[in-house]
Symmetry: C2
Subunit: 197 residues, 2 copies
């Protein structure tokens, strides 16, 4: 029914995360209505961003200039590394402004199902950094899923020989949550991890 | 926090329908992870589709070759025109396979709020087509919203002088719907438009 070029464009959009064929069609029709304002600028931006943005082989962050502006910032505490799974997690933490050290982006989590092994993640580089630099603490800020917790245990195991203090972010009640709406797992964890007031 | 090229790309994605800044970031990170497989092909496809796909000034459909393959198909019934608001509506109707005539895509619906007047839609061309071609019936397949119904009345009014039979698609119970779950408006319409069994 569709022309090939149209079909191809819809197909490419539908490969994006969270986008099905219907949303992809909607986006493409919207773009075709706004060729000069959106479609061509998007085409150019995809190419230039793709060529300009690189991934740091040491810390895993993405940036135009490597080392990135976090690694390169003299004001950041170079003795603490916060380990995250993805760049989006780094962005989320930066938004809170609560961390002033360095980051290490793993690039995902271990998964037997998706065949993601330690070699697919930036784990070797993390151990190198932990050994070579003046690192005092490594904070594991990983997700609360099974895969992420497996990754956490794997990394903790690997870092066991070093003199670095290894911590992980707290699990418990989300901010503003109500006890009778929170799931059982969260409530159990929060209860077990209770602290003196 | 972000580099300019990255910021620009996220900004452009967030202009797409149904996409907020968070989904846009997610898409951009996904694209950066799949530069060769997705990011560059998407950039190329946007440019080539943008340049290749044109809008027919008479029927309003989009296609690489104008007249489009519907207008150009000798098997289609050239005496019936189905009027729709958008190309996506045309696609939805084509999927059902229940219509074998020609289409006329208005390009939206009248809206005082969004300042969309008859001149912004392909209404003049519809009246021309109704007068000049051997048209026997014009089917108005417009949405059931207030704006669309206003558009329907406007078009019906304009077509009143011609000899063409004007129909609109039926309103009533959706296929598979249950009476106690359907909204009041639909139920009232379905009740009023009852037919002998």
């Amino acid at each position: 029914m569709h022309d090939d070029v149209l079909q191809e464009l819809i197909h490419l959009f539908s490969k994006l995360p969270g986008i099905g064929p219907k949303s992809a069609s909607r986006m493409v029709l919207f773009l075709l209505k706004n060729k000069e304002k959106l479609m061509y600028p998007l085409s150019r931006s995809l190419l230039s961003a793709g060529e300009a943005i690189k991934k740091c082989k040491d810390c895993g962050n993405i940036a135009v200039k490597i080392p990135c502006n976090i690694c390169d910032n003299p004001k950041r505490d170079k003795s603490v590394i916060c380990v995250v799974e993805d760049v989006s997690d780094l962005w989320a933490l930066e938004k809170t402004g609560s961390f002033k050290g360095l980051y290490h982006v793993l690039g995902g989590s271990l998964s037997a199902l998706d065949n993601i092994t330690p070699d697919d993640l930036l784990i070797e580089q993390l151990i190198k950094r932990a050994n070579s630099e003046n690192i005092k603490e490594i904070i594991l800020a990983l997700n609360s899923t099974v895969n992420s917790q497996t990754t956490l245990h794997y990394i903790t195991d690997k870092l066991n020989g070093t003199n670095v203090k290894i911590t992980k972010i707290a699990q418990g009640m989300p901010f503003g949550a109500e006890i009778n709406y929170v799931d059982e797992g969260t409530l159990t964890t929060a209860f077990k991890a209770r602290k003196p007031v």
